[in-house]
Subunit: 130 residues, 2 copies
């Protein structure tokens, strides 16, 4: 959730508390065929999977149950044109989990989207007439 | 809550369902000193108060309890620099409720904000790489 404090121009007659009177808030997410496809929490989960190479470790790092993390990954993979996360089973070293190119693109896009949204809210705040 | 379907360029090889695969969603609101100051529901309530000249009738038109509507109005008035709604008590014709100039400005600003947010989401959708 984004949160921006209202910055007002300083005015000698205005009590200081008024300078931070309002905050512009917002949330953005992308829905897929079934439900949420990408949102803030899902993107952080993808980043942790990239970092740890494991859904178990990624979940642990976020204080999330493995089951919930697995369900989020499954939901993203089912709704994407091509999966965002892939798990190699068996072989030497056992099953590693990694992001696909689509997974990398999802992260990159989302943070850009988030940053532009932040800027949008800041711009709106400047026009607030109250 | 805003909701936009992904419009993809038509491609003969692409199943039609893919054309509306993703939807960009969002919410925006303004917080004040205590909690939410302005949001979609509060703005609609202000519009109904303007229309009906009464919190009771405005609440009824939205299927909302009078108590809840009154609390929302009180929350907006407490958090605004100058009240958004004023009630004239007594006098000929009894107590009418009407919007102040600040109330009118709040409505006007919020719908502009909402419209620009819609446009922002549409623009973001165009750059979505998945």
């Amino acid at each position: 959730m984004l949160k921006y404090r209202m910055k007002r121009e300083k005015s000698p007659g205005l009590p200081k508390v008024h300078a931070k009177e309002y905050q512009f808030m917002g949330r953005v997410w992308v829905e897929g065929k079934e439900s949420t496809f990408l949102g803030f929490g899902r993107i952080v989960l993808l980043e942790r999977i990239k970092q740890h190479g494991s859904i178990t470790e990624a979940a642990k790092s976020m204080g999330m149950s493995y089951r919930h993390a697995w369900e989020l990954v499954d939901s993203m993979n089912r709704q994407a044109r091509t999966p965002l996360v892939e798990t190699a089973t068996g072989g030497k070293g056992g099953g590693g989990t990694r992001l696909t190119e689509a997974g990398e693109k999802a992260i990159e896009f989302f943070w850009g989207f988030h940053k532009r949204f932040k800027k949008f809210l800041e711009q709106e705040m400047e026009h607030f007439p109250l």
